[in-house]
């Protein structure tokens, strides 16, 4: 067996969701900027809060009024995907590493990381006699009900893969705060959040506490990836950058509640990785402005921004012709082309 790779383990105990995401971005940035850095696994839990995906609109996916009335913070994540509710009954991890490590792990495409890290979760469940399964693209389920979701962010030379695990989260509260698109459940046969998700604790009497699951997770992670951990707290540099990101970005309402842009035309569809919506301003069939939103999964924001910028000024036919050369997933390209064709047909 090859020598064990050393990973850094961070358990900073930060429970403020805004600061939590500031730390996430600080670690990602510094992973990219550092020449010599070993991979980091960060574990965390936050106070009850809602985290929306990078491309989501809070008013569309979250009961914002309920959250305000109940003092539940809402914060936009840096990665894509759907809105999640987190509390002391759930925990998350993030793995930060240089993309150069992917070859060492024999990973040819970052999509493979969903099953690579997913195996840790599935093996963790085996310890509790729970039969869990990957539910593509990014979920893990027990009898079709989700207890784990994951997302990714691609940042220059660095990469972060994150996952959330429900152990004994308040599902009733989750149901109250989230209003996922009906499209989300169409192909899964569920009518509500409550029917769709499950806590690990409901699945096995062997699941005692969240602390126990976290410890078991760390041990399983080490076994499956054949790594050893050194627990090292956040450095002053990391903390200072996180503090700046907290003040300049995550704690500011305008980061999460971006000003809605008016649009004239909207179309929506469901693709394999989630719901995809296009809002456009059209002038004589020419795209003046275009915004893509939804809970679909795609880790590289730059490529999506380039795609949106490239479509401006094109007419619908030109845009349809152009999309295949965009640097986004096949799934996303097909979805966008489908939506553009819809606009054409209905015009």
């Amino acid at each position: 067996m090859a020598n064990k790779q050393t990973w850094r383990l961070v358990r900073d105990g930060i429970t403020d969701p805004y600061m939590h995401f500031a730390v996430e971005e600080a670690l990602l940035r510094l992973t990219d900027e550092s020449k010599e850095i070993f991979p980091t696994l960060r574990l965390r839990q936050t106070i009850p809060s809602v985290w929306i995906g990078y491309y989501q609109v809070p008013e569309e996916d979250v009961d914002v009024d309920f959250c305000k009335a109940n003092e539940i913070p809402i914060v936009r994540r840096l990665n894509s995907g759907g809105a999640v509710y987190q509390d002391e009954g759930s925990f998350c991890y993030s793995a930060f590493f240089k993309k150069s490590l992917l070859a060492q792990w024999k990973i040819s495409h970052t999509d493979e990381l969903y099953s690579y890290f997913g195996k840790v979760i599935i093996d963790l469940c085996k310890k509790y006699n729970i039969n869990a399964n990957l539910s593509p693209v990014n979920d893990i389920t027990v009898n079709g009900r989700k207890f784990y979701g994951s997302a990714q962010i691609d940042w220059y030379s660095a990469f972060a893969h994150s996952g959330s695990i429900l152990v004994h989260a308040n599902i009733d509260r989750m149901q109250q705060v989230l209003k996922p698109s009906d499209l989300k459940f169409i192909d899964k046969g569920f009518k509500s959040v409550k029917e769709r998700v499950i806590n690990l604790k409901e699945c096995s009497a062997l699941v005692q506490s969240i602390e126990q699951v976290k410890e078991d997770f760390i041990n399983t992670f080490a076994d499956i990836l054949n790594v050893q951990f050194e627990e090292i707290p956040l450095t002053p540099e990391e903390y200072a950058l996180a503090q700046k990101l907290y003040e300049d970005k995550y704690a500011k309402p305008e980061w999460t509640f971006t000003k809605a842009r008016t649009y004239t035309t909207m179309v929506s569809t469901k693709i394999a990785s989630g719901v995809l919506k296009l809002k456009l301003n059209l002038l004589n069939n020419s795209i003046q402005d275009i915004v893509l939103s939804g809970d679909f999964i795609f880790p590289n924001h730059q490529n999506i921004e380039q795609l949106m910028a490239a479509m401006k000024g094109k007419n619908i036919d030109e845009a349809i012709q152009w999309v295949p050369q965009a640097g986004v997933s096949r799934d996303l390209k097909d979805g966008i082309i489908h939506l553009l064709r819809q606009i054409k047909v209905a015009s």
């Binding site: 035309t265 179309v267 929506s268 569809t269 059209l282 004589n284 003046q288 489908h338 819809q342």
Partner: protein, 100 residues
């Protein structure tokens, strides 16, 4: 989902949209989630040029008097000056999908 069966939703709202207008937009956006790949939603802002071609029904209805906000499903008026009953609009959309 066939791309040949697109039902057109149109809303005429104030610019900038009032609270009532926003409620109407939110309701119609919800339909976009409910009927994926089957609807196209166009929003016209009163006093601003229409950037897409409206339906014949919309043009006829709004020829002389424009009621704001108002909503149309395949050119048929389903709401004038008030946010419509969600179920009524849903039924109209389903009807149009059947006809298409």
């Amino acid at each position: 989902m066939s791309e040949e069966k697109i039902v057109r939703l149109e809303i005429l709202v104030a610019s900038p949209p009032t609270k009532k207008c926003k409620a109407m937009i939110a309701m119609f956006e919800k339909f976009m989630d409910e009927f994926p790949g089957q609807l196209k939603l166009d929003i016209y802002y009163a006093g601003e040029p229409m950037l897409t071609q409206p339906t014949e029904g919309f043009r006829k209805e709004t020829g002389k008097v424009r009621k704001i906000p108002s909503a149309y499903v395949n050119g048929k008026n389903v709401a004038s000056q008030e946010v419509p009953d969600e179920e009524t609009v849903r039924k109209e959309i389903i009807n149009c999908l059947k006809i298409n």
